[in-house]
Amino acid sequence: MTLSPDLDRRFREAAAAEGLLDVSYDLADSPLGPLLVARTQRGVCRISFDPEPARAEEELARAFGARLLRVPRAVDDVRRELEEYFEGERRGFEVTVDLRLARDFSRRVLEQLALVPYGRTTTYGTLATQAGRPRAARAVGTVMNRNPIPIVLPCHRVVGSTGALVGYGGGLERKRQLLALEGAL
């Protein structure tokens, strides 16, 4: 007698529906390769390129709590918005984000980042100024590189003062693809 996929799915969905989970996640297909999408009760807390689920589970459980389960349905809304975005039909995300782990300067930078519009770019220096530390462009780079929720928080729209792409946590090629998708290249 083995466990049926249907019963397994029903348990996972019941766990999410009863609000018993600290984190739920699933993988989502995208033109940039598979993405790992995780959410808490508050909102999306992680999007990762080149996902390694076992490692991500450990890391997310340490950060948000051990009650973590893979529940495809729990991230369906995020998956849908991402699909629409990649099809060019969506210019902004409606899902909420959970930034509880970002503090102080990082938090302010990510909040400013969230305001950068679709199809536009800004610079590390501008974000630094907006976050209240005009000379902290390099620190902004670090915050971008560790952005826990890329795509939704559009760190791909942040470039150097000369317009050079500079860097991207998911690799420069993906930054180029995202900016091309948005018509910003």
Binding site: M1, T2, L3, L7, D8, F11, E57
Partner: protein, 161 residues
């Protein structure tokens, strides 16, 4: 090996669930039958999930979830007022790759010897009370009482983890 685990936090629930779901489902199927096992399975892991955030260490997780499953099966039995499906042949291989005794022997250490043996034989090796009675040199009824009094004692301990 248990010593090295003693300070580690419980793994992500996903891993705990993946490690034990098949064994728990097989166990419940034999305790309550294939149909009711589905609800009992869901209830077992929902109860485990509700308590999971309060766990302080990663020890005895298999024995812990089997204890929950046992309790869920007992509740199910009480609801249905029907007999438990007794296993015809003890077949621990279908429940787990290694004897449940390994986990249960730790969990049941505080019990008086006769209760401990009854609990381990019943839930670790899936003996029926006839067999347990024979093993302990007592009646099946005495074996049943020893096992249930052992489980009650463990429940009282587990209620304050």
């Amino acid at each position: 090996m248990m010593e090295s685990l003693s300070m580690s936090a419980p793994p992500p629930f996903e891993r705990f669930y993946a490690d034990h779901r098949e064994a728990v489902f097989a166990y419940l199927t034999r305790l309550v039958g294939p149909g009711p096992a589905e609800d009992a399975f869901q209830e077992t892991f929902l109860r485990a999930l509700r308590a999971y955030g309060g766990l302080r260490h990663a020890e005895h997780l298999r024995a812990w979830v089997f204890t929950i499953a046992t309790r869920v099966a007992a509740d199910e039995h009480r609801r249905r007022r029907a007999g438990w499906h007794s296993a015809d042949v003890p077949d621990i291989e279908t429940v787990d790759e290694r004897p449940g005794y390994e986990d249960l022997s730790e969990l049941t250490r505080p019990l008086p010897p006769k209760e401990r043996a009854a609990v381990v034989l019943r839930y670790g090796y899936d003996f029926d009370y006839e067999q347990i009675g024979a093993a302990l040199g007592s009646s099946p009824e005495a074996a049943r009482q020893a096992a249930s009094s052992g489980v009650r004692r463990l429940r009282r301990k587990e209620d304050r983890p």
